[in-house]
Symmetry: C2
Subunit: 409 residues, 2 copies
Amino acid sequence: VTAPRFPTRLPQLAPSPFTFGSFRGVRAAGVAAGIKASGRPDIALLAFDRPSSVAAVFTRNAFAAAPVIVSRSHVRATGGLARAIVVNSGNANACTGEDGLRDARSMCEQVASGLGCSAEEVLVASTGVIGHKLPIDRVRKGIERALSELAPGDAAGRRFLDAIQTTDAFAKEASAAEEIEGRTVRAAGFCKGAGMIHPDMATLLAFVGVELPLSPTQLAGAVGSIAAQSFNSVHVDTHPSTNDTLFLFAGGDGEAPASAAWAGPATRVARRLAWLIARDGEGATKVTTITVRGATSHDAARKIATLVASSALVRTALFGNDPNWGRFVSQVGNSPELRHPERVTCRLQGETVFREGEPVAFDRGALSSKMATEDVSLELDLSDGSGEATVMTSDLGYRYVEVNAEYTT
Amino acid sequence: VTAPRFPTRLPQLAPSPFTFGSFRGVRAAGVAAGIKASGRPDIALLAFDRPSSVAAVFTRNAFAAAPVIVSRSHVRATGGLARAIVVNSGNANACTGEDGLRDARSMCEQVASGLGCSAEEVLVASTGVIGHKLPIDRVRKGIERALSELAPGDAAGRRFLDAIQTTDAFAKEASAAEEIEGRTVRAAGFCKGAGMIHPDMATLLAFVGVELPLSPTQLAGAVGSIAAQSFNSVHVDTHPSTNDTLFLFAGGDGEAPASAAWAGPATRVARRLAWLIARDGEGATKVTTITVRGATSHDAARKIATLVASSALVRTALFGNDPNWGRFVSQVGNSPELRHPERVTCRLQGETVFREGEPVAFDRGALSSKMATEDVSLELDLSDGSGEATVMTSDLGYRYVEVNAEYTT
């Protein structure tokens, strides 16, 4: 590995005030088992003292990895109750056939035996290189150590976070606390992922906990909407991986809340994690939030926002701080959802650059300077209904090409 | 403008043996009218001595430029007969409202008055910066000169070609000749375009002539299929422009052919021009032909090929000569059209790297060397039907980012 030609500009991040490692009944561990050649931590374990409610969203890729297949069946079998989640990084256990399934199951069995529960109460996730068999002996030794090192607290939580990383340029954590029905509800999460890098397919793995005794039904009812507003609204590239997984779990004492307000802090945590994913989009220098308003429906707004977010021309203009409304507006014009081009208005960083189908004079240099920031806002108003949707996208610069084209084995 | 950091590697191109400038009854011109700041030629004119059959395919972008709107109505009004095509480069006349329409119409009227025909017999196309009014006085003087310089022959044809360029790294021409029904049928074409570059929206403009007295109906019946097999199978980026136009015209004496075999050489010309478009894909170093076979239908095959071609991860791997089948295959897995992942086979440069859902051992270094060429073949066999489709894509490298992010006004 040579030094990068285009170094990543990292965001300035303050650590979260807490992690789910501090939730009552939660213990975590992260150890180095030698799966990664670098010697960095690569086995992460999360354990719940009592069966905890869990809901999940898995990749829809037809080449779903073995851990996805196993976890999906375990969530179904238990109705959404788990005692542990075991994760390895450095190897995706994807495209590995029957052997891969056997290895993923054996990871669950080993954790179950250590914790005294059933294998179906253990969920599993993997991330890293695809098409290679797991070095199962190393994995077993790592799990053994992780079991013995399980501990409560934020330090243990962050050891878990360390051990799920692959090509991430920075660690991704988020937390939120909110007064709901007279008590403080806390939510916290970790995630990893930054698109896919050879030879790793840097899967998105996300873990979001809510410190409340929620039922599996409550979680299952909310997880789709939480994912839609966060990870499923991120476009680093148009290429979901074989291993993408979001686990949403509940951990906490007392009474379950009456309302669904608990989903608020959980959604904020997930959205922040999604922003961090876009920010770490393989050389990204900024995150652009694309909001489409006034579409005929939410679905139409979402399709248009996604079309704009997925354009390499749009993403290179954002990298270049180029207030090039022609690229943004003409991509809207490529959507069959657009019915009235003469009504389209485009705003960039709050400034109107195109109004009702016609260009507006503006100071190009000043607006370009306003785009030279981590957070860019692009708004497209169609004046054709009340449908609205938001999508986050990373920009596309030299570093994206470098990490995706040059770092081959 | 500073020197590029990543110079374009140009293909080695032999000039075509002939252009449509040599077709009987065809005259061409290209002049510099000062629309481009560079002083390069920017008014191109093609004239037919007698009304000539023309068929066209226009952009489906909702923000269709004024010349597209005018030409579409002229083709409709005449039933596909034209005496001339006038083109300006350096200004797209797009997003220019009523003034833009008036200017496009006045270009046709001026040519009509010069040639002694109706304005509806003149077609018009523009390419260049969008959202700026045409400098109509310069355009008028340019057209006046072009009318006076109309001449037969290949040299005049290539002056036309010169004047339609914007950000093209090289001129694009193609020709084909074939024995059909006992005579030699010639087809020839020019095109320009290389994605969209700020501040220019480098539209695709293509002009393909067949040296036969074909009827408007014959041309109209073939133009869709010719476009589908050529320009509509190219993915430089996923961003069609406001001005994209293909004109297919007939110029020649004698009898019209009985069969549709004439579409053969025309299609070969269009495919070669499309290859050149992909090759000039803003810093592209190669063209990859993605063939999907064994899909449930042609449409399904086309959707999958397009999904693979539009992935930035796939395109950076191609730039890096990286035989990274994980990226190719997992993108197939993202298509709802894929029903049997376990049947998928992937071949790169003819070498099988993934067979029936499982990785195959291969020499990564040797295959990477075989990818370091202008023409790469990626084949995906789904073994699930007889649907087949082919798409051409450019790779995505540093130069793409440079031209799209750095060259701002």
